[in-house]
C-alpha cells in the first residue's frame, strides 16, 4: 500500500493545517488526522482513492472529532443541520470548493509557523516541524539527530506544551504578518537542511533524509507562494547544494572539498531545476540572501571543472551578500574567492580581524590553516589546524583536517618543497 502512504504523507500538512483551524488545539487535530488516516487505510484499498484525498481526509477527520465531542456530551441535543454524514463522498466536492487555495495557504503556513515559536530553541523547532508537519515518527527524528528515542520524545513533548501554552495565531494574517511568518518558516526550513547538510554532531557528516525533508517543505511552501522570489531562492539553494551530496564524501566517509569533487556525480536534474529557479527569482529584481546564495551555488554548478569557476562573479555575489546580511561567516566565505583571485596574503588579511568573532568556528581555523600553508608558514598553519580539530563537530571534519596536518608534516620533512 505504498501509494496510500505516499498520499497520506503528501496530504498531511494541508489536512492537519485545516483540522487545526477547526479545533484550535494541536493534539485534537493530530488525533483527528490519525483517525482519518486509519479510515483511509481501511476504505481506500477497497473503494480506490477518493478524487480529492485532502478534502476526504479533512471531512472524515472533522466528523470524527465532532462525533467525539457528542459522545462526551450526550445530554446536549444535536442541531439538526449538523448531521453526520457517514459516507463522505457525497459532500466532498462541496467541501473542496469551500477549502479554496487561499485557506490552504494560510493553514499550512500557520502549521509551520507555530513550530518556529521564538521561545523554542532551534533544535526543538526543527524536531517539532519534522514531527508535526512532516509526520516523521519520533524514532525517525531521534535517528536523524542521533538522540535516544526517549530523549527525543521528551524534547518534542516539551516543545508541544510550549506551543500549546502560547497564543496560536488563528486570524487570517495581514500582508506584513504573512511575510513575517514566511520569513520565520523559510529560516526554519533552511535550518533543517543545514542540520542534514553539515550535521552538528555524531558520526554522520551528511544526513540525506533531513536534506530531502527540507527540500520537500520548501517545495510545499513555494507551491503555496509561487511569486515569492526569496522562497524560489531558498528552493534553488537547497537543490543546488543537495545536488552535490553524492560527491561530498568519499568511500571512507571522508570529506571531499568542492574543488576535489567528481563533478560527474552531481545530480544534474536537481541542478537543472535549481538553475531554472534562481534565474526566475532574479527576474524579480528583489534580491535577498537566499537568492544571492543560490546564485553563488549556481556559479559553481555552471563550472564543468574547478578551474572554470568564475571567482570574480563569486566575489561580487559575496559582496552583495555582505551588504544584505552582514556576518563574519560570509566574509570568511568571501575570503576563499579573494584567495583564488588575489592570493592568500590578501585573504588572510581579510579574515584576521574576524578572529574575535569566529574564535569558536571550525571553518575559520580550517581556512586560516590552509591559507598559512599556502604561504609556507607551517608552524602557524599547524596551530590553526590543531584548533580546528578541537572544534570539529563530526569525525569526518576532524579527519579532514588531520589529512591536512599529515600533508604538512610530510612537506616539513622535505624542506625543498616548502618554498613551493
Amino acid at each position: 500500500m505504498a501509494w496510500i502512504d505516499a498520499a497520506l504523507t503528501s496530504a498531511r500538512p494541508q489536512v492537519l493545517g485545516a483540522l487545526l483551524r477547526y479545533f484550535r488545539v494541536l493534539d485534537a487535530a493530530e488525533d483527528a488526522f490519525q483517525e482519518a488516516c486509519l479510515r483511509a487505510l481501511k476504505t481506500w484499498p477497497v473503494n480506490g482513492p477518493p478524487r480529492d484525498p485532502v478534502a476526504w481526509l479533512i471531512f472524515v477527520g472533522r466528523n470524527f472529532a465532532l462525533d467525539e465531542v457528542r459522545r462526551r456530551s450526550k445530554q446536549t441535543e444535536l442541531p439538526p443541520d449538523d448531521a453526520i454524514v457517514c459516507e463522505p463522498e457525497d459532500t466532498q466536492g462541496e467541501l473542496a470548493e469551500r477549502l479554496d487555495a487561499s485557506h490552504y495557504r494560510d493553514d499550512i503556513l500557520r502549521l509551520l509557523f507555530i513550530c518556529c515559536h521564538p521561545d523554542l530553541p532551534v533544535t526543538q523547532q526543527i524536531a517539532l516541524a519534522l514531527r508535526i508537519v512532516s509526520g516523521l515518527t519520533v524514532k525517525e527524528i531521534a535517528r536523524a539527530f542521533l538522540a535516544s528515542e526517549s530523549a527525543m520524545e521528551q524534547r518534542i513533548t516539551r516543545a508541544k506544551a510550549r506551543v500549546a501554552a502560547a497564543e496560536v495565531p488563528f486570524d487570517t494574517p495581514g500582508l506584513a504578518e504573512r511575510s513575517a511568518r514566511l520569513a520565520a518558516v523559510t529560516t526554519m526550513i533552511y535550518l533543517i537542511f543545514n542540520e542534514g547538510y553539515s550535521a552538528s554532531g555524531g558520526t554522520a557528516h551528511v544526513r540525506v533524509p533531513l536534506c530531502e525533508e527540507a527540500i520537500r517543505l520548501a517545495r510545499l511552501l513555494l507551491r503555496l507562494f509561487p511569486g515569492e522570489s526569496e522562497i524560489m531562492g531558498l528552493m534553488s539553494l537547497l537543490l543546488l547544494q543537495h545536488a552535490r551530496a553524492p560527491a561530498r564524501l568519499n568511500a571512507d566517509n571522508g570529506i571531499v572539498l568542492l574543488e576535489d569533487q567528481d563533478r560527474s556525480l552531481w545530480n544534474r536534474e536537481m541542478i537543472g531545476e535549481g538553475l531554472a529557479l534562481v534565474e526566475k527569482a532574479l527576474r524579480h529584481r528583489r534580491p535577498g540572501p537566499y537568492q544571492v546564495q543560490a546564485a553563488i551555488a549556481a556559479v559553481h554548478a555552471h563550472a564543468p571543472r574547478p578551474e572554470d569557476t568564475d571567482w570574480e562573479e563569486i566575489d561580487r555575489l559575496y559582496e552583495i551578500l555582505e551588504t544584505l546580511q552582514p556576518s563574519p561567516v560570509i566574509t570568511l566565505n568571501r575570503a576563499v574567492a579573494v584567495a583564488k583571485l588575489r592570493g592568500p596574503t590578501e585573504a588572510l588579511a581579510m579574515i584576521e580581524p574576524l578572529a574575535a568573532k569566529l574564535g569558536g568556528y571550525f571553518y575559520f581555523f580550517g581556512l586560516k590553516g590552509a591559507l598559512l600553508t599556502q604561504l609556507g608558514r607551517i608552524d602557524e598553519a599547524r596551530t590553526a589546524f590543531d584548533r580546528a580539530i578541537a572544534l570539529a563537530n563530526t569525525a569526518a571534519e576532524a579527519a579532514h583536517i588531520r589529512l591536512h596536518l599529515d600533508r604538512l608534516l610530510k612537506d616539513a620533512s622535505l624542506p625543498a618543497n616548502q618554498a613551493g
Binding site: 505504498a2 501509494w3 505516499a6 498520499a7 504523507t9 503528501s10 496530504a11 482513492p49 478524487r51 480529492d52 487555495a101 520537500r216 517545495r219 510545499l220 513555494l222 507551491r223 509561487p226 511569486g227 524560489m232 528552493m235 537543472g272 531545476e273 531554472a276 529557479l277 526566475k280
Partner: protein, 122 residues
C-alpha cells in the same frame, strides 16, 4: 495521425516518490519507449520540471508575466509524448502501455493538429 499523450499526475505524489522508485519507473518507461521507437511510432518525449519552476505569460496587448503554472489543479501536466499511430485505437493501446508503468495519474490523448519540429516551413 500524430497524437500527443499528455501525462497528468498529482505533483505532490510525483515529487514524493523516492529516487529508487522513480528510477525504477523510468527504466520501465524507457523499455516501452524503445519498443515504440523500434516500431517507428515515437516522436519527441519530454519530462517537465515541477510547476514551481513555471512562469505564465497571460495573453493580451500588455502581456502579464506571472509566476507559477497557469492552472491550480489537483493534477498537473508533468510530461508528454508525441506518437505516430494510424488510429485512435492504437494510440489508446500505446497510452495503456505507458500507463501500466506509472503508479498513478492519467494520460490524456490529444490528436495533434499542427506539428512542426523544426520551426516555420518555407
Amino acid at each position: 495521425m500524430l497524437y500527443s499523450i499528455l501525462c497528468y499526475e498529482s505533483e505532490a505524489l510525483a515529487c514524493g516518490r523516492t529516487k529508487q522508485e522513480d528510477d525504477a519507473m523510468m527504466v520501465r518507461l524507457r523499455a516501452v519507449q524503445r519498443k515504440l521507437a523500434n516500431e517507428g511510432k515515437l516522436g519527441p518525449v519530454a519530462r517537465l520540471m515541477p510547476t514551481t519552476t513555471a512562469t505564465t505569460v497571460m495573453a493580451g496587448r500588455e502581456p502579464l508575466v506571472i509566476d507559477g503554472p497557469f492552472a491550480e489543479t489537483k493534477e498537473q501536466l508533468l510530461g508528454f509524448y508525441v506518437v505516430d499511430c494510424p488510429t485512435l485505437e492504437e494510440a489508446i493501446e500505446v497510452a495503456k502501455l505507458l500507463a501500466r508503468e506509472k503508479p498513478h495519474g492519467a494520460l490524456e490523448i490529444r490528436p495533434v493538429a499542427v506539428f512542426n519540429p523544426v520551426g516555420p516551413s518555407k
